[in-house]
Amino acid sequence: MSERLSNRPPETGALFARDRSWHPPAFTPGYKTSVLRSPQKALLSLDGTLSEITGPVFGHNILGELDDDLIHNFAKPGESAIGPRIVVYGRLLDERGAGVPGALIEFWQANAGGRYRHKKEGYIAALDPNFGGCGRTITGEDGSYAFRTVQPGPYPWPNGPNDWRPAHIHFSVFGHGFAQRLITQMYFEGDPMIWKCPIVRTIPDRAAIEQLIAALDMEATIPMDARAYKFDIVLRGRRSTMFENRLEGN
């Protein structure tokens, strides 16, 4: 797990402070489940020790051949998942704009009908026998990543009497420090459901919400196969460690 994946020297600086006004607050009564699950006392601020600036690194040995292909990684041989075929691609960056190489990104989603493969799922939409809903990849040297999937459907959920989630893909992202750990969701350009969603609306700033909306990119489509959506993800940046005399990327 400590395999080095990049030629860049390891980073040892502390992370930039998190801008918590850009993230959703813990207590967001429009999203009812947050009410009893939100800490109410002030957080204890801690400038990164080794425990926060270090983090696990994953080697390509964990990856299977179809891990980045949700159309096929659960399908019977010769079959494929049903739904609009898409490629999702982008870069994992830090707040300094530098690509984050060798980072594990995991994703999960409902099928094209909006149904999750999960025993707690109650939506009446049909399961697709050829769709599992999970995938993962590791970013390249410049932080780039890509995977194939089907566009997920919107789905209803018990919150208000008639709340629906916009189509979305969940993302779990590792940086190089445990304090960079992030889970977020990707939405699709032009979806009118985005602005009605109580979970989207936990984010206070419209520009922050727009940061989670992937752009349709017709130049990156695979003709007669799949359309493409571009989704960049940004993790916290790091301070340079001056004693190492590395100011680039500061």
């Binding site: 797990m1 690194v57 299977g64 779990s172 936990t202």
Partner: protein, 204 residues
């Protein structure tokens, strides 16, 4: 006006939702055949050095009810206080120890169990040693941004008393919220999201 700093904003967090298992522990939720095993399930092997411990954790909501749809990740040093990370410059950590673990809480009981080793002491930034501790990250439906906390060991009184992070906690009455209690080889640790016993969470 001055020049722009050209910094990007961190992508805003969104809840992991109730189906986090599909992505992060698919075998746990019966999606088999995609990944051989769930990542982070096993942290030790028979060559790992250090004292074997079991940690039994729960996450409790504001009514005291255990969350049955949470996911916990832990990150800890090896028995000698070294992290298995490229950013660890003091030496090579135990190659037989993963340092990182991931478990879902049981869908019936809310219990979450990690088989690991007791970590060694890691220096604080000024060189003082921190007490043995495990870093914890919690996500779940209803949690909008992953919660960070630390687990300390209640039977490490001397080390805990000189720990520079615990010393930062103004209300000393809250320090016990970070202490795992030992019963045999098992440490139990309840994380309270709200209420009088609310766990100290960190902005790290």
């Amino acid at each position: 006006m001055a020049q722009a700093l050209n910094r990007l904003k961190e992508s805003p967090s969104q809840t992991a939702g109730p189906y986090v298992h599909i992505g992060l522990t698919p075998n746990f939720c019966d999606i088999t055949g995609v990944y051989d095993d769930d990542l982070g399930r096993v942290m030790v092997n028979d060559k790992t050095s250090g004292e074997r411990i079991t940690m039994a954790m729960r996450v409790l909501d504001g009514t005291g009810t255990p969350l049955r749809d949470a996911l916990i990740e832990i990150w800890q040093a090896d028995a000698h206080g070294l992290y298995p990370s490229p950013s660890e410059r003091r030496g090579a950590a135990d190659p037989n120890f993963q340092g990182w673990g991931r478990q879902a809480t049981d869908m019936d009981t809310g219990l979450c169990t990690f088989e690991t080793i007791k970590p060694g002491r890691v220096p604080f930034k000024d060189g003082r040693l921190m007490a043995p501790h495990i870093n914890i990250w919690i996500v779940a439906r209803g949690i909008n941004l992953g919660l960070n906390t630390r687990l300390y060991f209640s039977d490490e009184e001397t080390a805990n008393a000189e720990d520079p992070v615990l010393a930062r906690i103004e209300h000393k009455v809250r320090i016990p919220t970070l202490m795992a209690e030992r019963k045999g080889g098992t440490y139990t640790f309840d994380i309270h999201l709200q209420g009088e016993q609310e766990t100290v969470f960190f902005d790290i």
